[in-house]
């Protein structure tokens, strides 16, 4: 909903803050396909990033329901493994399954959430940014300090499902170093009513308790800018399980998971002169999971009580050379090392060393711009334990070249056209290769070829402004990695047998009107996505030519928002057309269309009386808000077997000082 009202702000994040203003440094070749940007102190419509992404065109968020349920993103039917999620330019990755749970990311502390289908054209990107099929960029908000020594915010959010979500943010200046400390706690019982084959039941074992603590530091050293982020997250949650027939004598699920994510990431960027710049970035992450099916509480559970530890070390060096004021060349080189350990039986302890490199060039004039790059990814996979369970794994090296071309043309002031062609690959995950599987060392990376055009029009006439975007595209996924069970349901193998052809169209129209004053404004957004994502794996098979699972042919929505001085109101309706939970598009697996409507109201109160002598950039302020979700109490499922909550309310109060 925010995407509407803050279009102005969006443009700020397109540009770079580099001191010199060469064309190549400030003009993007492609703009984000979708973006939500927040003004300082703006009330976030939801605490979860997944809730923002859900309203982007071309995007499906797979949601298993509830506050603690897994939420992953799929862009233009490519599959979530092809979507890179980048936090402050550094990838949030998961070598085990390449699924990034967006429900764990708080919109707190972010200044923007942007989706790029074509290559983001910023200088000094990491090589992994070039290697992603589509990219979600989460931009961190800078500390809200202009003149003062410190500032902060406390927020309390509470509401349905016994949800309590307090958070604290504190900005402080330590000499030349800016510091932001964030802390957040979340507890929710996850209980909500759902329809169990005609009988109303309450979802059980969906509770979650989580905590987050992070510290960000930034400053200047040796003539360059540095930043460092230390992040810790822990949660303990239940998995309610799919809705299936179950004897009333046994519970649906007693599965619990406790996890802990720790990472440290940072970087140093320096413009050595007007032509040459470098960026050095690094990350270390350590993720621990304890999964317990609790068979002593549920006789239907399998007796799993397992621990996983995943670690990753990552270094990136990016260099940018401005050859003329319209032509630049970038070279990025990344190296990463991943490990996965577990007490699962016959666990081979996979290790991966991966190199990613990208050579990019950028030509930028005001009306015509071009970006081309070639990325290379090579990964060595090996095992600390080669032979386990009677079969041995081969060390394997896999590599691929990934070319891309993006063009921009602005034939008129009101018209911009950009086009891109891109081929990317996703490596097999550790799960694909080694975990509880009969290994297949012949597995090759899954490829995604994308061809897309964005046509953007915009104009302003007096108090009225509008913009429209029309984005047709064609994607082809080949060598799709598909799991096939062997004779035992516990032993699967992976094969490169899938092919998918995707033809799609994203349409977006926004219009806004100033209502007399700058702080009175009404906006409307209409969005529509068409996706024909057809299985072309096996000619003559039952599924040939059918729509792949969970992709609606038609989806869209409408968003209305009104700002009246310090009061904002917004309404959002999302409509998802019919889908199928599997490629056999039969009635048994049809998921009926559904629509979801949410509304929010927020009011800011400037507390002028609290201003003391010290002059600071911002005045103390209180914001009160309420969100009404699923207003019409629709009963729906995003993923078959996982019912979503009905009508629910979330209240929030924020105090800034």
């Amino acid at each position: 909903m925010i995407s509407v009202c803050f279009g102005l702000n969006a443009q700020q994040t397109d540009t770079l803050s580099a001191a010199s203003v060469s064309t190549y440094k400030v003009l993007p070749v492609v703009k984000p396909s979708e973006q939500v940007a927040f003004l300082p102190r703006q009330v976030r419509p939801s605490s979860q990033v997944s809730e923002l992404l859900r309203r982007f065109t071309g995007v499906q968020v797979k949601d298993y329901g509830g506050v603690g349920g897994l939420k992953t993103i799929n862009v233009r039917s490519l599959g979530s493994e092809h979507v890179g999620v980048f936090l402050d330019g550094i990838q949030v990755d998961n070598a085990q399954n390449m699924q990034v749970d967006l429900g764990r990311f708080s919109a707190d502390g972010l200044s923007a959430v942007a989706l790029y289908n074509a290559q983001k054209t910023q200088r000094l990107q990491t090589a992994k940014e070039y290697a992603a099929g589509a990219a979600v960029h989460l931009s961190l908000e800078n500390p809200l300090l202009i003149w003062g020594e410190s500032a902060g915010r406390v927020r309390l959010r509470a509401g349905s499902f016994g949800t309590v979500n307090p958070s604290l943010q504190w900005d402080h200046r330590l000499g030349g170093v800016m510091m932001r400390v964030g802390a957040e706690f979340l507890a929710s019982n996850g209980k909500y009513k759902y329809d169990y084959f005609g009988t109303p039941l309450t979802r059980e074992n969906g509770d979650i308790t989580s905590g987050r603590l992070d510290v960000r530091l930034s400053g200047t050293i040796l003539g360059g800018k540095w930043s460092l982020m230390l992040y810790g997250y822990g949660s303990e949650r239940g998995f309610p399980g799919p809705v299936i027939r179950r004897s009333p004598e046994y519970p649906f699920s007693a599965e619990r998971q406790a996890d802990r994510d720790i990472f440290a990431q940072g970087g140093w960027t320096k413009d050595w002169n007007d032509f040459y710049s470098t960026a050095l970035r690094f990350k270390y992450s350590n993720n621990y999971i304890h999964y317990n099916a609790h068979p002593e509480k549920n006789p239907m559970a399998l007796p799993y009580n397992l621990h996983y530890l995943q670690q990753s070390a990552y270094v990136s060096v990016a260099q940018s050379l401005g050859i003329t004021d319209f032509w630049s060349v970038d070279l990025s080189t990344d190296f990463q090392f991943n490990t996965l350990d577990s007490d699962v039986g016959q666990f081979v302890k996979p290790r991966r060393a991966a190199f990613t490199g990208a050579l990019a060039t950028l030509l930028t004039w005001s009306k015509f711009r071009a970006e081309a790059h070639i990325a290379y990814a090579g990964a060595w996979d090996w095992f600390l334990q080669h032979s386990a369970g009677g079969w041995s794994r081969e060390d394997t090296f896999r590599d691929e070249w990934m070319p891309s071309l993006s063009l921009f043309f602005a034939p008129a002031r009101w018209l911009e056209i950009d086009a891109f062609a891109k081929r990317t690959y996703r490596l097999p995950t550790f799960n694909d290769l080694y975990y509880s599987l009969v290994g297949n060392s012949a597995l090759v990376p899954e490829s995604a070829a994308q061809l897309g055009v964005d046509i953007r029009m915009s104009d302003r006439a007096g108090a009225l402004d509008w913009e429209a975007r029309l984005s047709p595209y064609f994607n082809h996924v080949d060598d799709k990695i598909v799991a096939i069970p062997t004779a035992s349901q516990f032993r699967w193998t992976m094969l490169n047998i899938g092919k998918v052809d995707i033809t799609g169209l994203d349409v977006k129209f926004k219009a806004g009107r100033d209502l007399g004053f700058a702080d009175r404004r009404a906006d409307m957004t209409l969005r529509y996505t068409f996706q024909s994502a057809l299985d072309h794996s096996t000619p003559g098979s039952l599924t040939w030519g059918n729509q792949i699972p969970y992709i609606p042919l038609h989806s869209g929505g409408v968003n209305l928002s009104l700002q009246w001085e310090r009061l904002t109101f917004s309404w959002d309706t999302t409509v998802t057309g019919e889908r199928w939970s599997r490629t056999a598009n039969t009635d048994d697996y049809r998921i009926a269309p559904w629509s979801l409507s949410d509304a929010s109201i927020a009011r800011r109160f400037l507390l002028e009386g609290l201003v003391n002598g010290s002059s600071r950039g911002f005045m103390p302020e209180l914001s009160l808000g309420v969100n009404f979700n699923n207003i019409f109490n629709q009963s729906y499922q995003v993923v078959q077997g996982y019912p979503m909550p009905g009508f629910n309310v979330m209240l929030s109060a924020e105090f800034y000082w």
Binding site: R246, P295, E296, G345, G390, I484, A487, S488, F490, R582
Partner: protein, 378 residues
């Protein structure tokens, strides 16, 4: 499918009393298939589709012989009051007397229906039921979960499975006995139950990280395990030939231990012999165990060439030419000499196919539910 084994033998000596009044399921429509080549002894061939775990899409199809109609999802159609359908993962189906018993694994239910009109008779709670056998008085159901009820036995160790005993008349669980890890196939012969233990989960879990390799022998009168026979790791299907020979298949370990068919005689259970390796899907008919297998079973990089052979009186008896090109057998049923049904699960998440072979040739194939896995004839 082994259930058949245990049951078929009874079936052979039992005379089925078909009810003659019109069945309520006669209005069900289906796909016409050619059954003119078969003898007319049977009314229906039931096909239990396992479904995909967690998707609640187990289903029951049947082929109605007099009309040559293949009818899908009969349980849900005939039992609309059971809103949830058959349930999650249909693991076994057995004809016991004039009832069909179906183990619905991840629902924790043994569903009893009438084979006459597919209408529910009873739904019995059994945790994680796997396979069914009977001695004519009780049904015996292997279960992966029995021991989990006792917390004290779980801490630090992987619990063993159970065999549940259910009264055929009252449909009440009358007790259970502990067997090996993750028991699968079960058959009754001459006062004893023979149970194949797999250890399919135990192989991945502490403390042993190893498969089970035993057959548990239960004395029915005392309902106690009287002896345990070591066979091979990861046992799956178990059949009695009604003449004192027990046959048991192993899935192997997907690496250096191949699948195979083993046998022993009840008079000397410790003397186990390997009949042949490479058993992907077995079936029993009369006193013969039929197997379809491939030597390249653990190599998934290329298509397999499958062979059909039989075993009788404890020995490999015959190779049968059958053109299985284009089919990946997931399940197997022998209707009569030279008439075979082979289920193909396709990609395992979408509906599969049922292929009918007669006289060495494929007659037809029809779309089944997801993972057509188990058969019984009525």
């Amino acid at each position: 499918m082994l259930l058949l084994c245990g049951v078929l033998f009874l079936g052979a000596c039992q005379k089925i009393n078909y009810r003659e009044e019109p069945s309520k399921d006669e209005e069900l429509t289906g796909v016409k298939v050619d059954v003119s080549a078969f003898s007319g002894a049977a009314r229906k061939l039931f096909v239990l589709n396992e479904g995909q775990m967690g998707s609640n899409n187990a289903s029951l199809d049947f082929l109605r012989f007099p009309f040559g109609l293949y009818i899908s999802d009969a349980f849900a159609k005939m039992n609309p009051s059971v809103g949830a359908g058959l349930g999650d993962v249909g693991n076994d189906i057995a004809l016991i007397g004039d009832e069909l018993w179906i183990a619905v694994n991840n629902s924790g239910i043994v569903e009893v229906i009438s084979p006459y009109d597919e209408i529910e008779v009873a739904a019995i709670s059994v945790p994680s039921p796997r396979f069914i056998a009977t001695d004519g008085k009780y049904a015996y159901v292997t279960s992966w979960a029995g021991a989990y009820m006792d917390y004290s036995t779980f801490e630090g160790s992987n619990p063993k499975g159970q065999v549940y005993k259910i009264d055929l008349k009252t449909k009440k669980v009358e007790g259970s006995v502990e067997v090996g890890y993750q028991p699968e196939g079960i058959a009754y012969y001459n006062g004893k139950l023979y149970v194949a233990n797999s250890g399919g989960l135990a192989s991945m879990l502490p403390p042993t990280y190893s498969y089970d390799d035993t057959v548990s022998i239960i004395d029915v009168a005392s309902f106690k395990v009287t002896s345990t026979v070591q066979v091979q790791i990861n046992l799956k299907n178990l059949y009695s030939d009604g003449k004192g020979n027990i046959y048991v298949t192993t899935l192997g370990n997907y690496g250096d231990v191949h699948s195979g068919l083993y046998t022993f005689n009840v008079s000397n259970p410790t003397s186990v012999s390997l009949i042949s390796n490479y058993v992907s899907v077995p079936a029993v008919y009369g006193d013969t165990v039929y197997c379809i297998g491939t030597e390249t079973e653990f190599d998934w990089s290329a298509a397999h060439e499958y062979n059909l052979w039989g075993a009788k009186d404890g020995k490999k008896a015959l190779g049968i030419p059958l053109d299985l090109s284009g089919i990946t057998p997931y399940s197997f049923f022998v209707l009569e000499q030279n008439t075979f049904f082979i289920g193909d699960a396709g990609d395992y998440v979408n509906p599969g196919t049922l292929n009918c072979f007669h006289g060495g040739n494929k007659l037809w194939s029809v779309q089944s539910g997801v993972c057509p896995g188990h058969f019984v004839v009525y």
